[in-house]
Amino acid sequence: MKIVVCVKQVPDTKGGVKFNPDGTLDRGAMLTIMNPDDKAGLEAALRLKDQYGAEVTVVTMGLPKAEEVLREAMAMGADKGILVTDRVLGGADTWATSQTLAGAIRNLEYDLIITGRQAIDGDTAQVGPQISEHLGIPVISYAQKIQIEGDSVIVERQYDDRYHVLKAKMPCLITALAELNEPRYMTPGGIFDAYNAEITVWGRANLVDVDDSNLGLKGSPTQIAKASDKVRKGAGEKVTLDPTESVDYIVDKLKAKHVI
């Protein structure tokens, strides 16, 4: 079985956020991690590899430094890493990103594609389903359990008040939730091997069946009108009182607001 996992290198949101003058993110200026939902997707692929035997190829799109997440993935047990990087791909929205990744994946054989549900920088949850649409394969989002049965995959798909047990014929794309599993750690031997491993680097010319008009900032239907730090309402009162006084204080406020 062949599994392709899409991962994204994302800014660690604890490190603060920086923008370019045009309102897009200044990714070069922030600390980075492998996106948590993607890491759960990778772990799911590695468990299928452990259980059924599989070749796991990890694909990322980003700046040259995104190679770091591929090495991390390989240190965890992925077999191959492909970095898709090119200046013309920069500034992409989810449409252009999914076109790029679909264009890269068309070079590969796959039974299963696994992506994270969403990245912590954009929180859109769009790229996985959009890749599946471009490739013309079924998608199962929000997977909380994945099993293989013959040429099909059986997935528990989470909704607000229920889950569906779904069966799809492979090839199929699945988006994973961070809750799916606890990702394994890199092994020392794995880290050593991954450091020396060859990373495949692809550019625009390697993308299959994608028109220039669908790539990068120019190929993005959505455009940023304005971006800013969020303005929050300020803090109100803060008091330190003994319990009885605290209770009186809260009751007074509830009365003043006509709650009681």
Binding site: W95, P138, Y159, I224
Partner: protein, 347 residues
């Protein structure tokens, strides 16, 4: 694509088990406002099996028109037939705006549809306006009018961005549940109902539903609660939530919680407030033993009054609380419950 051909505001009227989801009426309400600004109509798109009866409810909450796509293949939500239904509606009726709820269904359906028809999709919007793009005139660039300006938080609520989709139609957005207001109900109001069926032939993209497992839950929806008593890790144990439940009961409120509590297995996910849980806007929100991570705050900061109780005076929750009490929740909460009982009994 000739942008001038695209007219009207359409919203996806999500239903589950043939009951309209709250978001359906919220989108009709918001769609009505946008349609007014554009001098056009709001159309609800109802997709399912045997769902035509829900059209009247959509009309009473403001829909001018309801397009019904009714087919046995649409009984339970599945990505492919629903994506086919919506993209066929868009091809046929050419709306200029199409809104979908940012629910577990809409966040799957929206991207699939936008990819099929080639337009932009802005995720998880918390504000929608009609305005100019660029917002301020830029020399050498035409300023377009009557554009949908879609505002959304990103980076777990650290930043906020306003997005436009000037060159493609429809302008598509998913909208966070609980943020937009539904319009007042006008009993007996009717809408024009149009039935439309593009035909559904199962193919490899159709997945098979082997089983539907409904979570057994008799708890009230926290998004509808006027008063929420919300607990975090600081509550200490699942058993200790009893003191929050007692407080909620006295006030006629509901208990909710932070992500840490769900991750620890103390409470089910449908009680979780925050970025990966639900967005709530009650009249009063008690944050008890909740530190106030930005992801939590993103889900509750619109509450009218926020009262925080936390023993850590540096907890970030105090930065958004209207009234913050530094103290021991184990002493304050039970005493508050008793005092409120006495106050209410005296009335």
């Amino acid at each position: 694509m000739n942008i001038q051909d695209y007219k009207g505001v359409f919203v996806f009227a999500q239903q589950v088990d043939n009951v309209l989801s709250g978001i359906a009426l919220e989108l009709v309400g918001k769609g009505k406002d946008l349609a007014k600004d554009l001098n056009t109509e709001v159309t609800a798109v109802l997709v399912g099996s045997d769902v035509k009866g829900l059209a009247d409810e959509l009309a009473e909450y403001g829909a001018d028109k309801v397009i019904v796509v009714d087919d046995p293949e649409l009984k339970e939500y599945r990505t492919e037939p629903y994506a086919h239904a919506l993209s066929s509606v868009i091809d046929e009726f050419k709306p200029e705006i199409f809104l979908v709820g940012a629910t577990a269904i809409g966040r799957d359906l929206g991207p699939r549809v936008s990819a099929r028809i080639h337009t932009g999709l802005t995720a998880d919007c918390t504000q929608l306006d009609i305005g100019d793009f660029p917002i301020n005139p830029v020399p050498g660039k035409e300023q377009l009018h009557n554009q949908l300006l879609m505002t959304r938080p990103a980076f777990g609520g650290n930043t906020i961005a306003t997005i436009a989709c000037p060159d493609f139609r429809p302008q598509m957005a998913t909208v966070r549940p609980g943020v937009m207001q539904k319009a007042p109900k006008e009993a007996g109001k009717k809408a024009v109902v149009v039935e439309f069926n593009p035909g559904f032939t199962p193919n490899d993209k159709y997945v098979e539903i082997l089983e539907v497992v409904k979570a057994v839950s008799d708890v009230a929806d926290i998004m509808d609660a006027k008063i929420l008593v919300s607990g975090g890790r600081g509550v200490g144990s699942p058993e200790n939530f009893k003191i929050l439940e007692d407080l909620a009961e006295v006030l006629g409120g509901t208990v909710s919680c932070s992500r840490a509590v769900v991750d620890a297995g103390w409470k089910p996910k449908d009680l979780q407030v925050g970025q990966t849980g639900k967005t709530v806007r009650p009249n009063v929100y008690f944050a008890i033993g909740i530190s106030g991570a930005i992801q939590h705050v993103a889900g509750m900061e619109e509450a009218d009054v926020i009262i925080a109780i936390n023993k850590d005076e540096t907890a970030p929750i105090f930065e958004v609380a209207d009234y913050g009490i530094v103290g021991d929740l184990n002493k304050i909460v039970p005493a508050l419950t008793e005092k409120l009982k006495a106050e209410l009994a005296a009335k």
